[in-house]
Structure formats: structure tokens, C-alpha cells
């Protein structure tokens, strides 16, 4: 599904990614862990297609296609989704109108007709229920005045609505209390299937108790320095990141 080969990237002249290799197949969940400043968020931003991040070497293949030259919306149309660590507040656009626009613009790009209003409404209700979202929440302005937990829940709601092939969850656990974490993780698990893949970016092992990864990678100074299974996350939790740094 996703194949990253020797990826180097920089932003405003500052080199952040220094040769990433990563292969993610359909049905898999990968966790990317690492200390602050190791390049975790940059990696997700580069995969999603932010214009300000320049790829200087290597490439990103999504379902066999090089997506390096595609804009963020074109990548979304192919099925790439990024759940933001800090979702942007947009006063004046309701959650419902936003998600309708996102779905219909995606359908338009895929050559499909707009989703009929009743189908859309049914889907919105169903996915809102899955994430324990109250319907009055849907008529509020997007992320405007939302609590940290509401923002993250809203991100996963959008993921549920858009049904991406590859979802990158960037620090989805930050700002969540344990109850909210369970709801969000449960939502993500419901969306897992053999046809899609998930990359979980996290600083702590906590989220991985709920979203259990098939593989865990440790990022350090813009490179994956160690890969393993879910046990690696537990080891990191116990020993901290210094252990990895020393091992290099």
C-alpha cells in the first residue's frame, strides 16, 4: 500500500528526514515512535503532501504510484488521510457542511455523483454514534472552541466518513483522558480491515494498548533506527529512548 524509499525531506532549509524506509501493506497497523524532534510529525506531513516540505531525495509510492508531485487534496482523493495532532479551528463552517464538502469533492474527483442527501445524513448519524458524538455537535463550527478530546474525536469521525485506504494518526492520544482514548481507539479499531492500513504516530505506548500494532518503528534524527513488533513499544516504555540512542 505505502512504500517509502530513502526519503529525505526538509522545511525552510532545515533537514528533518534523513533516509526513511518504510513498507506498509494492506491490513497492517504500524506504530512510529520516537522522542520529540525525531521527525515523526514531519513524516506524516510529507506523506499527506504539505507544499512547504521539500522532498530532496527518495520517493513515496502509494499503491504503486509515485505521489511526490501530487497535491494534498489529490492524495486525499487516492485514499490518504491524516488525523492532525492540532486540528485547525475554522469558525463559520459547521462540521456537517465541512464533511459534506469533503466527501462530495472527493467523489467529484473520482468521477462519482454527489452523495444523495439522505444517504449522507444516515452515514453521518451512524458514524457519529460510533464515536459517541452528540448530533448537536455536528452543527457547531469546525473545531471552534472544541476541547482537545472533541477535536480528536472529530478527526476520527472524519476518518470514518471518508473511509481512507491509509490513515495516519498523528499523536491522536495527546490531550485525551482515558475514557476518550478508549472511545477514539474503539472507533479506529472498528474501521480496521484487511483492505486498509493505519500508521499510528505516538510518543507513548499507552495508545498501543488499545490500537494494537503489527509493527513498531523507532524514529531518531530523521531515520528509522529500530523496528520490531508490539513488544518493542513496551520495551521503550520501560527503558525510555536513551537506550535506543546509546545502542546506535
Amino acid at each position: 500500500m505505502l512504500s517509502i524509499d530513502n526519503l529525505h525531506a526538509q522545511v525552510e532549509g532545515k533537514k528533518i528526514l534523513n533516509g526513511i524506509h518504510l513498507d506498509v501493506k494492506a491490513g497492517e497497523v504500524h506504530a512510529i515512535m520516537g522522542p520529540n524532534g525525531s521527525g515523526k510529525s514531519t513524516l506524516s506531513t510529507v506523506i499527506a503532501g504539505h507544499e512547504d516540505y521539500e522532498v530532496t531525495k527518495g520517493n513515496v509510492l502509494f499503491q504503486g504510484t509515485d505521489i511526490g508531485e501530487l497535491s494534498a487534496d489529490e492524495r486525499a482523493h487516492l485514499g490518504v488521510f491524516l488525523s492532525f495532532q492540532y486540528p485547525v479551528e475554522i469558525p463559520g463552517v459547521t462540521v456537517t457542511n465541512f464533511i459534506k464538502t469533503a466527501i462530495n469533492e472527493t467523489r467529484k474527483a473520482q468521477g462519482l455523483d454527489e452523495m444523495p442527501a439522505n444517504v449522507m445524513l444516515k452515514k453521518i448519524k451512524e458514524k457519529a454514534k460510533l464515536l459517541g458524538i452528540d448530533t448537536h455537535f455536528l452543527s457547531r463550527s469546525l473545531n471552534d472552541g472544541f476541547s482537545g478530546g472533541e477535536k480528536k474525536r472529530n478527526e476520527i469521525f472524519q476518518m470514518a466518513m471518508l473511509e481512507p485506504k491509509l490513515a495516519i494518526l498523528d499523536e491522536t492520544d495527546s490531550g485525551l483522558d482515558i475514557d476518550a482514548l478508549r472511545v477514539v481507539a474503539n472507533g479506529v479499531n472498528t474501521l480496521r480491515s484487511k483492505d486498509n492500513a493505519i500508521i499510528v504516530i505516538t510518543h507513548y505506548q499507552r495508545l498501543l494498548d488499545y490500537i494494537v500494532p503489527d509493527f513498531v518503528h523507532v524514529l531518531h534524527e530523521g531515520k528509522i533506527v529500530k523496528s520490531g513488533t508490539k513488544e518493542l513499544a513496551l520495551e521503550l516504555e520501560e527503558k525510555g529512548y536513551d537506550w535506543i540512542k546509546q545502542a546506535i
Binding site: 475554522i90 463559520g92 463552517v93 459534506k100 464538502t101
Partner: protein, 438 residues
């Protein structure tokens, strides 16, 4: 002969025609003197610092139309709100079109200024209100007073709540080359009466047209006026719109101005409080591009205690367009417990667009709440990226953010068909079809 001389000469010719009430004739005579002395405003004047009429003044405009053109409904239907039942006063090249209009005299007067200015039965109301709140020292307003022949005359009696909105629509056909128009509206809303009005100026050709419009509105005790100005005119059309509103106790006057197109638009919007406990609301969305210019000059004159004014103007400027916002709030010493709120937010979509914004607060009372704020910025890049990652292409994402930016102003629009029309116009201006109304 320059335009000024031509206008003065036209007045002389017109004054020899019999007709108007004696009081009106006197006001006209004084007004042409004022215009003759002052001439057109220039950029040397503080109030006209950023807006030049130079090019217009040098154009050879004809003052009264020589020829008339009959329009069919299909020519103009798209400019008229038709999904809602309305009264209509339609002028074509400054002349009343009975065919396109729908006036009434049943229980109120929704008719023509020419009738009000000349027929004996309107003498009393004309004597009481005509040119009584307009700024007689303003040269362009004086010019209109001297030369106006037509416009809307609306008189709503006590306690009457007008069910249907009233549309005032001015078309210019281009059959008369370079026409200058002087429409004049007088709207008197008596105690506890309520009315909704929509005004539009629309050029139907690319021939240059210069409209110098004056509207006087009187809201008597407890009256409510909800007024919408739709300014989405042709590239060669220029408009000076001076609107003067006189308010009595417990009245509420609300004006929304949507400025989406035209070569040059200058709005002078003045509210004068004649008693206490008054509400004044003015809101606007400006969305222009190319070399267009939109200039909003507002004035709220708080002269009595316990009144509120609320103004909120949003501007979105692309290309080499220019915006001007000058919001003056004058609070007299007597006007204690005044609440005056003013907000002007602007987005510059291009490096070459300009906005000149100036709050002007003159406060002589000590127990008041007055706030003002202005911002100038660009669309939020991180928000654009966020929308793009959800599959919304850049153009649509920019449009969505622009909608969102303008949304507070739209939320107070009280006629749903006006709201959807404005939504459509914004989408059209931004070149997108987002398929929903905010």
C-alpha cells in the same frame, strides 16, 4: 463643457418645467447653489482621500436619458428576486417601468418619487420629510436634490407590518451612451411599522454609467427597517450611494450592504439618533477583484442615552482592488449608556490589493461602551492544508474559508431568498460550486 457645468445647465433647463411642490423647488434651488460652489469632491478632502472621482468627472455623461428602451421580463429576471412575493419599483435608465413594477396604494404607499414630488396629496409628507435628514452640505447629495426626478417613495402607516419585501431596482440599458443617474428614495416608516427593502443598481451593458443615489429613511417610534443593498454591477458602472437614516425612540434600522462588483462604489451610510433607546445595525461584505474600488464611509450619531449601534464589515480583496473603510462613531455628551461596537476585518488575497481602514471615534460622554477593531490578513495557510488533506482542492478550500470569514454577516440576513442569492453570488465570484448554504 465639463460635467459640472453640464449638470448646472441641466438644472436651469429643468427648473423652468412646472410641477414640483414649492418647498421642493426652493430646496432644489439651494441645492444647485451648494453643488455649484463645491463641485465634485476631490482627493484633497479628508473624506475622499482614497477615492478619486477624477476619471468619472472627465467622462462626458448625459444627464437625462434621451431615449427609452422597453425591457422584457426575460432581459432582467435574473436580477430580480422572484422566489419570494415582493412589491417592485423598477426604473429603466431612470424612468419608471410600469410593466416590470408592482406598486401599491392599499393601506400604504409603495410608489414613485415623481408622484410624491408633484401630487397635492403627498405635499404634507414631502414638506415634512424630503431633504430633511440628507446632508445638504454634501455636494453630491445636493446635486441629487437639485436634479432628481425619480426613485421610490415608500410610506408605511402606523403599526403596519408589511408582509412582502419591497424591491427597488434600477436598470441602465446602455442605449443612452454614458448616462449619469440621480435616483432619490424617500422611505417613511411610521410608529411601530415594519418593512423590508432590497435595493439594487444593475447595468445591462458595458456602456459607462454613473449613479449618484440618495436615500432618506425615517424610522418613527418603534419602527423597524431591514434594508439590503446588493451591489454587484458591471465593470463600467460606478455608484455613489448616500443613505441617511433618522431614528426615533425604540426604532431599529438595519442595513446590509453587499458590494461584489462595479468600477467604483462609494457608500455613505449615516444613522442619526433623534431620541433614546435606539438600535442601529450596519453590516457589509465586500468581495472584489481586478481594479475595482469599494469605499464604505459610515457614521453613527449617538445623540441620546441608552442606544446601541453595531457594525460589522468584512472585506475580501483580490487582484489590484482597493477597499476603504472609514467608520465614524460620534457620541454626544448627552448620550450616556451608549453601546457602540464596530468591527472591520479584511483579507487580502493578492499582493497588489489594498485596504485603507480607519475607525474614527469621537466620544464626549463618559459612561459609554465603545469598542472597535480592525484586522488585515490573509487566508490561513494551515487551514488551507487541513481542508486539502480532506480532499477539498485549493480553490474550493479558499472559497470555503472565504465563506466562513463572511459568515457572521450573512447570519443576520432576515430574508432567506436574499441569503441564498448572496451565497450564490459569493460562490460565483469565487468560481466554485460548493453545493451548500452556510
Amino acid at each position: 463643457m465639463g460635467l459640472k457645468d453640464k449638470l448646472v445647465a441641466s438644472y436651469v433647463a429643468m427648473a423652468s418645467e412646472p410641477g414640483a411642490h414649492a418647498s421642493v423647488a426652493q430646496l432644489r434651488a439651494n441645492a444647485i447653489d451648494t453643488f455649484e460652489q463645491q463641485g465634485f469632491p476631490t482627493k484633497k478632502m479628508e473624506e475622499w482621500k482614497y477615492t478619486s472621482l477624477n476619471a468619472l468627472v472627465k467622462t462626458d455623461f448625459s444627464v437625462f436619458p434621451k431615449r427609452t428602451k422597453e425591457l422584457t421580463l426575460s432581459d432582467v429576471q435574473r436580477y430580480i428576486l422572484h422566489d419570494v412575493d415582493t412589491y417592485k419599483i423598477v426604473l429603466v435608465d431612470g424612468i419608471y417601468s410600469a410593466f416590470l413594477s408592482e406598486t401599491t396604494h392599499e393601506g400604504m404607499d409603495v410608489c414613485l418619487m415623481s408622484a410624491a414630488l408633484t401630487m397635492p396629496k403627498y405635499k404634507k409628507v414631502i414638506d415634512a420629510y424630503f431633504d430633511q435628514i440628507a446632508d445638504r452640505e454634501d455636494s453630491l447629495t445636493a446635486l441629487n436634490t437639485a436634479l432628481t426626478k425619480e426613485g421610490a417613495f415608500i410610506h408605511i402607516p402606523k403599526g403596519k407590518v408589511v408582509e412582502k419585501p419591497i424591491q427597488i431596482i434600477h436598470f441602465s440599458t446602455g442605449i443612452n451612451s454614458n448616462l449619469m443617474l440621480q435616483p432619490r428614495n424617500l422611505i417613511v416608516v411610521d410608529s411601530n411599522a415594519e418593512v423590508q427593502i432590497i435595493e439594487r443598481h444593475q447595468s445591462l451593458s458595458d456602456v459607462s454609467v454613473f449613479t449618484n443615489s440618495v436615500t432618506e429613511i425615517f424610522t418613527l417610534k418603534g419602527a423597524q427597517v431591514d434594508y439590503y443593498k446588493i451591489q454587484n454591477d458591471h465593470q463600467e458602472a460606478s455608484l455613489i450611494d448616500s443613505t441617511y437614516i433618522s431614528q426615533q425612540k425604540h426604532s431599529h434600522a438595519k442595513v446590509h450592504t453587499f458590494s461584489f462588483g462595479g468600477k467604483l462604489i462609494r457608500n455613505n451610510l449615516h444613522f442619526y439618533h433623534k431620541d433614546s433607546a435606539i438600535e442601529s445595525t450596519m453590516k457589509g461584505i465586500t468581495l472584489i477583484e481586478g481594479k475595482q474600488l469599494v469605499d464604505h464611509h459610515t457614521l453613527v450619531h449617538h445623540a441620546h442615552p441608552n442606544s446601541n449601534s453595531h457594525q460589522e464589515y468584512k472585506g475580501i480583496y483580490d487582484g489590484q482592488s482597493t477597499g476603504v473603510f472609514n467608520g465614524k462613531i460620534l457620541v454626544e455628551q448627552e448620550a450616556q449608556k451608549t453601546n457602540a461596537f464596530q468591527q472591520n476585518n479584511n483579507i487580502l488575497m493578492s499582493d497588489k490589493a489594498t485596504i485603507n481602514t480607519k475607525p474614527q471615534l469621537e466620544i464626549f460622554a463618559d459612561d459609554v461602551k465603545c469598542s472597535h477593531g480592525c484586522t488585515i490578513g490573509q487566508l490561513d495557510e494551515s487551514a488551507l492544508f487541513y481542508l486539502q488533506t480532506r480532499g477539498i482542492p485549493k480553490k474550493e478550500a479558499r472559497a470555503l474559508l472565504t465563506y466562513a470569514f463572511a459568515n457572521n454577516v450573512l447570519s443576520s440576513v432576515g430574508i432567506s431568498s436574499v441569503k441564498s442569492r448572496i451565497n450564490t453570488l459569493i460562490a460565483k465570484k469565487l468560481g466554485v460550486n460548493l453545493g451548500f448554504n452556510l
